[in-house]
């Protein structure tokens, strides 16, 4: 079980990074970005294409892919913040579902539906713990999750940019009237999360199933993780992501429980929703 739990850490770190991105987006630009992983997938696919067909050195191909992932995210943010500035979170999030489907279809059209020959950025074991090899990818994903969460927290609580961002998410119109550059700031949030999402997918894609659909659907377990912090708290999003990976890894170790690991994200989502609504009275919760 312990071995399995450690083996699930790589996936846990990945979920955690994406969950932090989702939480940031939800807090700062009032969107649950369903295309979070899809933009990363598309950026990564372009990197592979540049490396394989154009012959760019792999660091340059990855850099271009990451920038493209960020740019796609900014473009999506532009659409949402221009035409749906005052719309509800639900409506704004619905646009990202369209973007998710568009990116999956587009990658099928451009790159086919076969797996891509990803060149690993990090490969092989980093060290051994409890009889389990902790891979370099695990170290990178878990490290990145913690670093991103801490950096975001510092930015939001200790800097003027953070205060402006928080103002913007609470009262977008008021903030804009006070002279806070709303458009630029929200584009920056979209861009940064897009970059982060692409970086993490570039790191993990070579070491797992990397067809367009499975990469894009990583947003489901990430959303389950973000839900632990109610899409507000970064620390809980990291904990949720790591926990989800660890539980899935542990469940895979036993024949009887292995089948349950598919449902873990969904069980987590359902359970957390029920828990968060536990004090609601009937009328308000409906």
């Amino acid at each position: 079980m312990l071995q399995g739990a450690l083996a699930g850490l790589a996936a846990g770190g990945l979920y955690a990074v994406l969950a932090v991105c989702l939480t940031l987006m939800s807090r700062l630009v009032r969107v649950v970005n369903f295309a979070q992983a899809a933009t990363g997938m598309f950026g990564s696919y372009v990197s592979v294409w540049l490396a394989v067909h154009i012959g760019l050195p792999s660091w340059l191909a990855v850099a271009v892919g990451v920038l493209l992932g960020g740019a796609l995210s900014v473009a999506l943010g532009f659409v949402v913040s221009t035409w749906l500035a005052e719309a509800s979170t639900g409506t704004r999030s619905a646009v990202t579902v369209a973007a998710l489907l568009l990116l999956i279809s587009l990658s099928f059209i451009l790159f086919g539906n076969k797996p891509q020959p990803f060149q690993p950025l990090l490969a092989g074991p980093a060290f051994t713990a409890g009889g389990v090899v902790i891979s370099q990818v695990t170290v990178a994903t878990v490290g990145l999750a913690v670093v991103v969460a801490v950096a975001s927290w510092l930015l939001l609580t200790r800097t003027t940019v953070g205060v402006s961002l928080r103002a913007l998410s609470e009262r977008p119109t008021t903030a804009e009237l006070l002279g806070i550059p709303a458009k630029a700031l929200s584009a920056a949030v979209w861009g940064v999360t897009g970059l982060l999402g692409t970086v993490i997918i570039e790191i993990v894609a070579p070491s797992q199933s990397n067809d367009a659909t499975s990469l894009s659907m990583l947003v489901v377990p990430a959303a389950a993780a973000a839900l632990l912090g109610g899409f507000r708290r970064l620390d809980l999003a990291v904990v949720g992501g790591l926990l989800l990976g660890v539980v899935q890894g542990a469940l895979a170790q036993s024949e009887q429980l292995s089948i349950a690991r598919y449902f873990v994200p969904f069980l987590a989502i359902a359970g957390l929703l029920l828990w968060s609504q536990r004090k609601e009275v009937w009328d308000a919760a409906r």
Binding site: L215, G249, R261
Partner: protein
Amino acid sequence: MRKSLAALAALVLLAAGCAGPADPNGPIVVGSVDSISGPATFPESSQAAKAVFDAANAAGGVHGRRIEYHAVDDKGDPTAAAAAAREIVGGDHAVALVGSSSLIECEINAKYYQQEDILSISGIGVDPFCFTSPNIAPANVGPFHDLTLTLLYGSEVLHLNDICALLEIAGNTLPYYRAAIAEWSTITGRKLKYLDATVPYNGSDYTPYVVRARAAGCKAITVNPVEPDSIGQLKAAQAQGWNDVTWLLLTSVYSEQYAKAIANAGAGVYVPAEFYPFTDAASPRTKKWRDLMTRNHIPLTSFSQGGYLAATYFLQVLAGIKGEITRESVTKALREMRPISDPMAGTPYVFGPGRTHHDNTAGWPIKLLTGTNRWQVAADDWLRIPRRT
């Protein structure tokens, strides 16, 4: 007057909509149901069959009649697969189906083909119904015999003990895979170290499964994966630093792209190819197929081998039919045909009168070694499942 009008209208309707098969000198209609779009696509099989029929038409057709080939997309969707079969069989009055390759088509349409008394030579049979129905006889070995073969190769040729199985199960395939493993046990007297049939399709991270297999002491792992999953599994083993594990896989991963994506193959990936390995470009066995595919710009894959063989077998049977070529005469000819050999297949093909058609029992071993990024032929003859006496 009114009565005669009604009678006339009925006659017209009968002539227009419910006409029987076309005239005996018109084209011979042949159909196929394929997953051309959808979650998993196999377009090459029907493309290859079409290339064979086009070449036959260019050479004067069969008994002076052209072959008209209708390949319909089932989108991997059950409703579309059922509709496609009805369009071909009921609408176009096809005499047979040739070169079909689909994830679900056999299961959905097997009963319908029986009801309409039409036979199907699938290019690539995937689901169990392709091999357990009286009216479908695929040209390929199929994943179940392929699993028996890959286990035989691992235990009898590579002399590996401690083989573990990680199976990705879709639909009702588990009992058939279990039967394939049981067949290997019967032949060799060996048992798997363990079998895990809960491995997910399109899983994101296979590390936990790899860790479990390593902890259990598996020296070799047999999987029935789709390409992306297999790549994920190999990379997970690589990340764990587990480099002395042998992978006993199936023809589903036999592609150039897969070989390019695998830099570290552990102690080697071994596959019993269902047809003579197409990557052996110099071989005379595949020359005719290769030339035809290259001329028609069809990818060189196992799928196009299957479609090519299905159409080649079918043409030979058609050429031997005396008298009219109709669905009845084609069905009869296929049921009574003599076995046809082809250098690309290890077992002579025969449709025959059987209730099931799972007779193709030979694969050609190939391997993919670490650092080579290409498939190599690993034997100089077919590996066969021994006949039980």
